[in-house]
């Protein structure tokens, strides 16, 4: 799979924002120094860059293992690893 086109990224971003209830039209078209809030174009540009790089980096990682089945058993997801280490971990 090659990289997504700008049109594909924009379509994804607009759909995702809409599903989350975020109205892109509420952002200004021109810079608004009074609030400092980004314009629609700034927001789209920022999100294009983010979507093009970050989700795939996260999705491509798995714990080192000899097989996909073994990786499922590795590194149980933990919200608070330090807390779990103290409460019932190896210390």
């Amino acid at each position: 799979m090659g990289p997504l086109s700008r049109e594909q990224l924009d379509a994804y971003i607009r759909a995702r924002l809409a599903l989350a209830g975020f109205d892109l039209e509420k952002l200004p078209e021109e810079a608004d120094p009074a609030t400092g809030v980004p314009t629609r174009a700034q927001a789209l540009a920022s999100l294009r860059s983010f979507v093009a790089s970050t989700p795939a980096a996260l999705a491509s990682w798995a714990p080192p293992a000899s097989s996909a089945a073994s990786a499922q058993q590795g590194a149980v997801p933990l919200l608070y690893p330090s807390i779990d280490e103290a409460r019932g971990g190896r210390r």
């Binding site: 509420k26 609030t35 700034q42 983010f50 999705a59 590194a75 919200l79 330090s82 280490e85 409460r87």
Partner: protein, 526 residues
């Protein structure tokens, strides 16, 4: 369900039930833990008070001020008044405070001097509180339009504990909007300056606990509390010559703190030296029924003892325990390389210290770099209401909240899996041969919830403070304090104070307040 989790859940339930019962009975929210779980109240160390502190109350460390008051050489009113006078004179330049509660502070000080009020170790000590901590009856704006009119009806647990130990809140410290960047107005205009360069707002003061750092550095408060999600205690501490301590996740309750990233928000002190950090953390730490993360954890160690350096008969300082200090390969790089080399030489000369070279695993950059983005979904979720209703209220900070919407649930879970893997790499690998680890950035230990202490090691050629960050094992804040206290016993960087702003500094700084763009705010966000 394991026996451990059953026990924990029962303990959580009982603690929460006790708190609920107390509310029902008294109408007051009680955040004190059961007596059996409460850490022992810290005692005041027997320290020598420097002449500078005797001559000027605003010069004193927390410990020095407390000792002077105990000996009848200083009153709470004198101490509070000294700091309020400096706020009046200099905060137009520093802009460390978002809100000053001078009348209430003076009233509390008078009461303390009459023998009333709490009698804890912080009795009469004037403090700055970051503006994301709830303060009953006092605006808590988080430097954001979202909270412009928010006045909490209760104190955050941390604030309540400071007050219960006798601490006096002077006011609320400026911060990066919603705890993201250096302190700015919601539209990105820089507010708080670095106390060491008050006429040049372009010099980084560190964020996001910028005001609490500047208040202590500029002698507008004796000590302060901040929060850290991505370096926001240790970075401003390094930039302004302070000793900042980010405790292990759960060591201090974050009930009543406006959230940024719930798996990474930590509360902790920004202080003048290791002893002050120890006193503050001793008061702050311990279980809180309102925050389940704080329950069932190792007991708070004797932090004051840990921060008391050991000096032999011949005057030589030695470590309280033999301590192996890990030095990563990239520690001796960058602009501060010379200062860091001198720091390591000095550290290596302390009896009981062993420096150990350590290497990072191959996936370090990925797991502490790209995976840092997983925190963004955590900031988005509790702010959905405002994202839908009034995105302009986020001002310059909006972009990272939108980025959080772009990570899928499965990717976020993968990030939590990666945290577990990273923890093992750190504890079993990187720290397998050392007790504490020098850091080249705060993010890895923020991701893991591990403790960090920041302390000063000198100054750049431009006169800006430089510091280091030392990371530790879970709930071993005492080890971090032992190292910082020993180093501070053989150096005097932590005793240096910046010159007061010149008469022209306010005009200079007012004319040149830079602004952060939305892109800069997102790129530099905690």
């Amino acid at each position: 369900m394991s026996a451990v989790s059953r026990t924990l859940n029962r303990r959580t339930f009982l603690a929460a039930s006790a708190a609920t019962a107390a509310v029902a009975t008294t109408g007051t929210v009680v955040s004190a833990p059961p007596a059996s779980a409460a850490p022992a109240a810290p005692t005041l160390p027997d320290i020598d008070v420097r002449d500078a502190a005797r001559a000027d109350a605003s010069e004193a460390t927390l410990a020095e001020a407390a000792v002077l008051m105990k000996r009848g050489k200083l009153t709470a009113v004198e101490l509070v008044q000294a700091h309020l006078e400096r706020i009046e004179r200099y905060d137009g330049t520093y802009q460390a405070y978002a809100e000053v509660t001078g009348d209430a502070a003076l009233a509390a000080a008078r009461k303390a001097d009459r023998g009333g009020g709490p009698r804890g170790v912080l009795r009469g000590i004037p403090l700055c509180v970051k503006d994301n901590y709830f303060t009953a009856g006092v605006p808590t704006r988080c430097n954001s339009n979202i909270f412009a009119d928010f006045v909490p009806d209760e104190d955050a647990t941390a604030v309540a504990r400071l007050r219960a130990a006798g601490g006096i809140v002077l006011g609320k410290g400026q911060m990066g909007p919603l705890a993201t960047t250096r302190a700015t107005t919601p539209n990105g205009t820089v507010t708080t300056v670095n106390a060491w360069t008050p006429d040049d707002p372009s010099v980084d003061p560190g964020g996001s606990s910028t005001g609490p750092a500047c208040a202590v550095a500029g002698r507008l408060a004796v000590s302060s509390i901040g929060t850290q999600t991505g370096g926001s205690i240790v970075l401003p501490s390094n930039q302004q010559n302070l000793t900042g301590l980010k405790p292990t996740m759960g060591r201090v309750s974050i009930h009543g703190v406006i959230p940024l990233s719930y798996t990474r928000d930590h509360a902790g002190p920004l202080a003048r030296d290791a002893m002050d950090a120890a006193l503050m953390l001793s008061v702050l730490a311990g279980p809180d029924a309102h925050d389940p993360r704080t329950l069932g954890l190792p007991a708070v160690p004797d932090l004051v003892r840990a921060a008391t350096p050991l000096v032999g008969r011949g005057g030589a300082v030695r470590m309280r325990r033999a301590t192996r200090i890990g030095v990563p390969a990239d520690f001796l790089t960058g602009a501060a390389q010379g200062l860091r080399e001198a720091f390591l030489d000095r550290l290596d000369g302390i009896s009981g210290v062993t420096l150990v070279d350590v290497a990072y695993p191959d996936d370090w950059a990925l797991l502490t770099g790209a995976f840092n983005a997983a925190r963004l979904s955590e900031r988005t979720e509790p702010f959905r209401h405002w994202l839908r209703a009034d995105p302009a209220a986020f001002g310059v900070s909006l972009l990272s909240w939108l980025q959080g919407l772009m990570i899928s649930g499965d990717e976020w879970i993968t990030a939590q899996r990666a945290k577990t893997h990273l923890l093992r790499e750190v504890l079993d690998g990187v720290m397998g041969r050392c007790d504490v680890l020098l850091q080249t950035g705060p993010v890895p230990f923020d991701i893991l919830g591990l403790p960090e202490i920041a302390f000063p090691i000198g100054f750049s050629d431009a006169g800006v403070p430089a510091g280091v960050i030392l990371g530790g094992q879970p709930y071993e804040e005492d080890r971090l304090l032992e190292v910082a206290a020993a180093y501070q016993a053989v150096t005097d960087w932590h005793t240096r104070r910046p010159a007061d702003p010149s008469a022209g500094a306010r005009l200079k700084s007012a004319a040149a307040r830079p602004r952060l763009s939305a892109e800069e705010a997102a790129a530099g966000s905690a």
